[in-house]
């Protein structure tokens, strides 16, 4: 069975959940091989994790020549592994970096690329959700090695261990790939809440919060949810851009999305329309967000959310 390369998405050796989802998809297409580009110290922990979720093989690549540069060296590593293994496909997480690595890899290996897949079938047919979630599109790579980036939350990780056979791989990184140098890096501060793109529940606030996110956060904590925001809230400086949901923010696809004081502009929908259940609190009954909801409350979020948080806590006990 052909290998399927999965680029491990991690922060300093902490494997992010979408990687485990990719391994589950890879198993449908062939034999999952994880590619870990990182520091040698972190390798054993990473191998443990990806093995647990089905990696038959793990290519461990020391990142000494990769770490300090933007995107291009990672694409070179993968291109060399594609050359070596002739895989059935290469899967990457559909984040900003994953997509750009995939883009360069496609050119390097003369391969077709599909971005933002929400599902990949056994035969390689990928499903995408386009035009702000208004259309579903299926398609296939017809040339070269299928290179597919898959959105987080598109598959359920499978707790079925693979052989996890480790192979060290030493790539050659060209000088040309080192043109964009990372001169400083500030890791994202953990909020103590679930990761926005990975969370099962997202509670978001918009302009309607008037800048006070406390009710949104209180409800999020009662539900064990991640906090999100509209661009209006971000542009007002109420919350950092990393919390933004939408076309130019994060795409989320949780089990439950709770939109508070958000009107439901097309660009916001683009980032949340594929959520399984959608709930909104908005004081304007005409707000377009109500066209999307499974349940909506016309009311002031400043009174509804605290009461809801209390009701949630009460029902938990």
């Amino acid at each position: 069975m052909s290998e399927v390369l999965v680029l491990v998405d991690h922060v300093d050796g902490a494997v992010r959940k979408p990687t485990n989802e990719l391994l589950a998809i890879a198993k449908k297409l062939g034999s999952p091989s994880a590619v870990f580009i990182g520091s040698a110290d972190a390798a054993s922990g990473v191998v443990e994790t990806v093995k647990k979720y089905g990696a038959e093989k793990v290519y461990v690549v020391d990142d000494a020549e990769v770490r300090g540069y933007l995107v291009a060296p990672k694409a070179e590593v993968l291109a060399q592994l594609v050359e070596k293994t002739s895989p059935a496909a290469v899967l990457l997480v559909s984040g900003s970096e994953g997509k750009e690595v995939a883009a360069r890899l496609a050119i390097k290996t003369s391969s077709g690329i599909i971005t933002d897949a929400v599902d990949v079938a056994e035969d390689g047919t990928a499903t995408q959700s386009v035009f702000a979630g208004n259309y579903t599109l299926t398609g296939k790579v017809t040339h070269g090695t299928p290179i597919i980036t898959v959105k987080p939350n598109s598959a359920t990780p499978e707790d079925a261990a693979g052989a996890g056979e480790v192979e060290q791989f030493s790539p050659t990184i060209s000088d040309a790939a080192k043109g964009a140098q990372v001169v400083a890096s500030q890791p994202r501060q953990s909020t103590g809440r679930p990761e926005l793109t990975e969370a099962a529940i997202v509670v978001s606030g918009g302009r309607g919060t008037g800048g006070d996110f406390a009710p949104v956060e209180k409800l999020a904590d009662a539900l064990g949810a991640a906090v999100g925001a509209s661009r209006a809230a971000v542009d007002s400086g109420w919350i950092p851009h990393t919390f933004q949901v939408g076309q130019t923010g994060k795409t989320v696809s949780p089990q439950l999305y709770v939109a508070n004081g958000i009107s439901g502009a097309i660009q916001h929908r683009a980032g949340m329309q594929t959520s399984k259940t959608i709930v909104a609190v908005n004081k304007d009954e005409e707000a377009p967000i109500f066209e999307l909801v499974d349940f909506g409350v016309v009311g002031d979020l400043h009174s509804v959310l605290p009461a809801l948080a209390d009701a949630v806590e009460a029902r938990k006990n």
């Binding site: 750009e100 883009a103 050119i107 971005t115 035009f131 040309a176 001169v183 349940f295 009701a311």
Partner: protein, 266 residues
């Protein structure tokens, strides 16, 4: 200094965007415009020129697309770009990212042959395809450093520094010109064309190039040369109307809690 800004003409996102029966985007039924995210790219190019007052800086807006796509270039000229280039050829229709990036890269090379290109600026993603992959592809093809998704751009001499809000970290990235740059919608509001700008744009040079002009074979682009094939497009079934309640003295929170419990979220 020579700056090229790549701008795409896209169907209006607030209109009812559709696919044709052949699974290509309906570009006739919906009004098109300069992709809003590319306005930020034009804006950054203009700001760079303003900050480097006294230098001889030419900004060229480049688009690849059907006849109507020239409107995207026009808008860029109205905002303040100096020259426009529209690559238009029937053979390009149906191209995927790979094809589009080839045409853009070849067009940049062709413009570079006339006078060296220092900076190629892109939007972070097109508002229709929203792949966000074309800048990286063009960088790969041109062999230039890729400095992408910038929320802040600073230049000094031939040095460029940007801030990039990545998935897991905020990074400062540095590179030496020439480079490929892409900017996000966090990089600063794009200006509206002024009346003067609109009048001036009418006199600015606007060149139309064919594939032959930039040295691309028809067989290298278009639907037949695409390395991906769309098999099917389906409109999402409308969501079934949900239940809407009006909050009165806390009833809304109770009703919503009941709904969440019924769905096992509590």
């Amino acid at each position: 200094m020579n700056i090229i800004v790549c701008v795409k003409h896209v169907p209006d996102a607030t209109a009812d965007r559709k696919f044709e029966s052949d699974n290509t985007v309906d570009r006739e039924g919906v009004d098109g415009l300069l992709s809003e995210l590319d306005e930020y790219a034009v804006e950054q190019a203009l700001q760079l020129r303003e900050k480097r007052d006294g230098e001889d800086i030419t900004i060229t807006a480049l688009t690849v697309g059907p006849a109507k796509a020239v409107d995207a270039v026009r808008k860029a000229l109205q905002m303040g770009a100096d020259k426009g280039v529209h690559v238009s050829d029937d053979a390009i229709a149906g191209s995927d990212y790979v094809g589009t990036s080839l045409v853009l890269a070849k067009a940049v090379e062709k413009l570079g042959a006339e006078s060296k290109v220092d900076l190629v600026v892109f939007g972070m993603a097109s508002t229709d395809g929203s792949g966000g992959v074309v800048p990286a592809m063009v960088a790969e093809r041109l062999g230039l450093p890729q400095v992408t998704l910038a929320s802040v751009v600073e230049t000094q001499g031939d040095q460029v520094r940007i801030k990039r809000d990545g998935d897991t970290a905020t990074e400062v990235v540095g590179a030496t010109l020439p480079i490929v740059l892409s900017v996000t919608d966090q990089s600063g509001e794009a200006r509206y064309p002024s009346f003067k700008g609109i009048m001036a744009a009418k006199k600015k040079p606007l060149e139309t190039l064919t594939l032959a002009d930039i040295g691309v074979e028809s067989s290298e682009v278009g639907a037949a040369a695409a390395w991906t094939a769309v098999e099917d497009t389906t409109a999402r079934p409308p969501r079934t109307a949900g239940e809407i309640v009006t909050d009165e003295d806390g009833s809304g929170a109770e009703a919503l809690a009941g709904f969440l419990a019924s769905k096992k979220f509590i």
